[in-house]
């Protein structure tokens, strides 16, 4: 059987080097305050024993954990992954660990929000694309847990938002400028998941308004609500493209859904952009691979920013709250 010997504690080191545990702790955390000779003796003992302080004990005494949590739905969807990438890159520089709490349901979210701040096993919290009641927000704020919201805002908490409505406008303006004259929308307008926030409606609103402002209209038949799943998006796309008078351009509310439209168009023998123009939203990595025109919402950046805000506030919590609005940008590729 393998040894399974438990790792040495600070007491073992103390015994071995003939000093008290306080001194060991000091060697580790405040080396200047200890005599060079003692220091060396302790270090030798540490090396010989292969001692490493236990993170949890340390965290307990220190009252901080060097760990930050991310509360997120759909954490493997590309757009969320890209935000996580931003978060991770900021955190790993600062030597923080990343704990992910996947949220699958309303209960889940409630459970996390009510227990996380009090369990105190993280130093800060990033909440992505999740809505919450006033009460929850207040609880978080009062609990002293540093929190940054992404894609949602509350006066008591830091937040990073994007202007979805404007994103819709940008799409409309671009399509008009490119000469298209009939427009459709396809997106997850009324999603079943009540726990996640859904900016899709705003994108549609901005799109519709901008079209109207320019004298165009968005017919009811050209607005298709389809859940995020590939299957259902494709069905909606098929219907849209199969209309006797199909639209000249489709705005898909997310890049993944735009890719479903591309697939359907291919199946139905429609060329993009000649027979059908297509714009997505998000600018996830693959968008560039498939040459999809889309709205870039700086996903990486939003994650990085959230992490940086958090880190800057941890340990210096009296700084004013930040409410950031990230700009959107239309990236023109080959589908329009």
């Amino acid at each position: 059987m393998t040894a399974q010997k438990k790792s040495p504690t600070i007491y073992d080191v103390a015994k071995k080097s003939g000093v008290s545990i306080s001194t060991i702790s000091r060697v580790l955390n405040d080396p200047d305050k200890v005599n060079p000779e003692t220091h060396k003796r302790v270090m030798d003992a540490i090396d010989q024993l292969g001692f490493i302080p236990r993170a949890d004990a340390r965290a307990r005494a220190l009252q901080n954990t060097d760990r930050i949590g991310v509360l997120t739905p759909f954490f493997t969807a590309p757009s969320f992954v890209q935000r996580l990438r931003g978060v991770a890159s900021a955190l790993s520089k600062a030597n923080y660990e990343l704990v992910i709490y996947p949220v699958d349901s309303m209960d889940h979210l409630q459970g996390y929000i009510s227990s996380i701040p009090l369990m105190r096993n993280i130093d800060g919290l990033i909440i992505m694309s999740l809505s919450m009641g006033d009460q929850d927000a207040l609880r978080l704020s009062k609990s002293g847990m540093e929190t940054v919201l992404i894609e949602y805002s509350h006066p008591q908490l830091n937040s990073i938002l994007i202007d979805d409505m404007n994103g819709g406008r940008l799409v409309a303006e671009h399509l008009i400028k490119k000469g298209y004259r009939s427009f459709a929308f396809l997106g997850d307008i009324e999603p079943p998941e009540r726990f996640a926030i859904h900016p899709i409606k705003s994108r549609l609103t901005g799109y519709k308004q901008a079209l109207q402002d320019a004298g165009f209209s968005l017919a009811k038949t050209y607005i298709r609500s389809a859940p995020y799943t590939a299957m259902e998006t494709r069905q909606a796309a098929r219907e849209l493209i199969g209309l006797s008078k199909p639209p000249a351009a489709i705005f898909a509310a997310s890049d993944m859904q735009a890719m479903s439209v591309m697939k359907v168009a291919r199946e139905m023998g429609k060329r993009i952009p000649d027979d059908l123009a297509l714009v997505g939203f998000d600018d996830i990595d693959v968008a560039e691979h498939v040459d999809l025109t889309t709205i870039r919402q700086h996903l990486d950046e939003s994650g990085r920013l959230a992490a940086e805000i958090l880190l800057s506030r941890i340990g210096e919590s009296e700084r004013p709250l930040q409410h950031i609005n990230l700009p959107l940008k239309l990236i023109e590729r080959l589908t329009t």
Copy 2:
């Protein structure tokens, strides 16, 4: 200023309900052993105070943490994300937290491997696509930290492998069966990252062997080594497709690289699969969106499996090690 009142401890509850802290603890952990009346009184106090036991203190006393760590390179690359998805789904059922340690360098990896088992702030460890020396593996094994390796194996640790060589064979056999007669390979054969493992060579070997077995050959000019980045992959693809005698079929060693090839083919006016057949590897989510023929390596499943093995071994560590070989399957879509 917001209250910042610290959360109530078990002591507060004890005082409020007029019993000792032991009883509170018992109410929480072993309710049967406490008088119903006392139980109710304690619960009332808990509710009134909004008490929640602090996870770290609990973990400390309990000597376990309900947290598992994943050591992974490129954690936002699609194939890794999909494995993480599998891990997360298995863990959330069991109420475990997921801690991600992104590995960016050899040093990083070394640091993690030597400190993680001793810090003991996780209960188990999944290591993805990272190679390690015998010494590290032994250290992990001896430390008693339950560990599962994915895409790498060591006799002392659990492992989940895929048969890359066979994957290469499957591709060759498929292409031959479909009637293609000249073959190329494009992949990250000699990657600069020494810390991550690289199964690409095996895929190439299997591919080459199967071709030779069938009486075909894989010319040197048809083998292109390109780093994983989109830019460089595209350059390699351009060269390959631009040859005076371009190959009829390309095997790209990963789906992402295959997508780069698709983009280049589109740019160069080549139709897939008529002018050029293409096979990827991994079967990431988007592969289906772009109708890419590929080798499915059950990414989700490998992650889920790893997590399940871990959970089953935690607390029951005398179970025999598991070495699992996941089967591969060719998924035919529209690029061949």
